[in-house]
Symmetry: C2
Subunit: 157 residues, 2 copies
């Protein structure tokens, strides 16, 4: 064991979190994590930072920016695990985001499925190019796949 106390050096935190030390310093600068300093000025991290980092990583996967993660983190306890009351709204919000992402991906997947056998990406024949469900999903106006476009005037492909 490299050192005595129950505080983690930046290298240890890096090893345990899977993040680079440079990333950890950056996160600290952003206020995502905090540290104490030794007499000599080196960082020492409380182990609760592991939780915060796990949270940040999860937040990123849910599609949040580091700034957004910071805001959410600010409403959770610093050194303690959040209790159910604190955690529930966060978890619910995230689940909603996740559900939306899954729904989007499944829509795209279905469209691709339809295309595997159809010599696809041929305008007017393919679900990838025709609104229907996409239109419903993405608001008003003709939309296909991932962008807007009129359903192609006359002309061929």
């Amino acid at each position: 064991m490299p050192h005595a106390a129950d505080r983690l050096t930046i290298g240890e935190l890096a090893g345990r979190s899977g993040l680079a030390t440079s990333a950890l310093r950056y996160y600290e600068e952003l206020g995502l994590i905090t540290s104490e300093r030794t007499a000599g000025g080196q960082r020492r991290y409380h182990r609760s930072m592991l939780r915060r980092l796990a949270f940040v990583r999860a937040a990123q996967r849910v599609g949040l920016s580091l700034e957004e993660a910071r805001h959410t983190l600010a409403r959770l306890p610093t050194e303690r695990a959040p209790n159910a009351t604190q955690w529930a709204p966060v978890a619910r919000a995230w689940q909603q985001r996740i559900d939306e992402q899954i729904a989007e991906l499944e829509l795209l997947r279905r469209k691709l499925s339809g295309c595997v056998g159809c010599g696809c990406l041929s305008l007017k024949k393919c679900a990838l190019y025709n609104p229907d469900d996409t239109a419903a999903t993405h608001g008003p106006g003709a939309r296909w796949l991932l962008g807007d476009t009129p359903p192609e005037p006359p002309g061929r492909d």
Copy 2:
């Protein structure tokens, strides 16, 4: 109608694709789309570029970089819609990526579900912090949620 021929100006292509003209020039620079030029040097796009752009947007949503999209695009016909033989492997590869993403999100979702009621993010008690399925999903070594970490030595949280 702004002009005669069946070629699209960059403004028209932008309008129809939902992308900014600056993005279109950038894409052209990257080799994602091509254009012809008028005598005066202005770009004119074949309508098949709409398909390529739809493809690129879809690729982005599947998580590909523009570079990766370019590679894939290079194996599909330039001005024609791909046939089933050309398209099938691409669609299958994308579906696989989509499936992986969905699986990841569902895993995260399940973990969050378990946590809503548990005062979560408390080390050792919570699925978010304990390997199990995540370990299987992300290769060797102990991993929780989105990073590596040993399952916490002695001490408390």
